[in-house]
Amino acid sequence: MAVPILKQGPYLIASVQSALTDTDLLELRTALVALVGRYRSRGVIVDVTALDVMDSFASRTLRDMAHMIRLRGAETVIVGIQPEVAFTMVQLGLTLAGVATALDLEEGLAFLGHGSRKPGPDAAAPGA
């Protein structure tokens, strides 16, 4: 099941479904890294509101994806991590270090719109 990607002005919005397979996630990563170039996007929002499970593979793939997109010159924000998913991630020791997160789509758009760069504590300093 492919993840739908919507172009909204200078941003790309990807809405992940609950039954996300590893293959879908890797395809999403490849697609977004390519699409930021094709559409000259400034930011990417990955909406995981519907995602039921964020395991080690999903966390690592989303983190890698955000770093790849940053190398391409755009920012990524992960939005909609559910309370139960956040609980489990912390319990399992999974992190999205260096990746911006926001409560929902609206907050994600606001984050990108302000042009603020607020990566997590483990992120490399800009220009480093």
Partner: protein
């Protein structure tokens, strides 16, 4: 160095059986076997697991936790053995109910179970968080593994 008792190491465990049934032993019923052969099966297994845990009355946080743990165990099967089975069952003991999750494969086995349970250790290039996390978050946890014969991981969690 975190030495594990000898009885939990692979070969010893595979052959030794308790001399008699332990008192108040939990029974496992309604077993469901889910064949694992591809990435889509991870989603299938965790969805069945979540549905069963919901029936058993687990809280929302625990439903996600159980689904995530099934996801990790299923991916281990695919990464190391390529195919295997996830067995989900209902646990009962003293009027309490819980979920039993078993991941079985006939892959290469885990040469050093103690090491596989160390945080950060992985031979497949993944994060290596799978097994230690599963052990910490479930109420009961056991690995039976023999080099060349496969691995069975048993994890149980009580609903109340």
């Amino acid at each position: 160095m975190n030495r594990r008792p000898a009885r939990s190491t692979a070969a010893a465990r595979a052959h030794s059986r308790p001399p008699r049934p332990r008192p108040r032993r939990a029974t496992v019923s309604d077993e469901m076997h889910i064949p694992i052969a591809g990435s889509q099966d991870i989603v299938t297994a965790r969805q069945y697991g979540r549905a069963l845990a919901l029936e058993l009355g687990f809280s929302n946080s625990n439903l996600t936790l159980i689904a995530t743990i099934i996801s990790e165990l299923t991916r281990n099967i695919l990464n190391y053995a390529h195919h295997g089975t996830i067995v989900l069952g209902v646990l009962e003991r003293d009027g309490r109910r819980g979920i039993a999750v078993e991941a079985r494969d006939r892959g290469p086995g885990i040469p050093d179970v103690a090491r596989a349970l160390e945080i950060g250790y992985s031979t497949s290039g993944s994060l290596g968080l799978g097994l230690p996390g599963v052990r910490r978050l479930m109420d009961e946890f056991e690995i039976v593994s023999r080099a060349g014969h496969g691995t069975t991981v048993r994890a149980r969690k009580w609903a109340s």
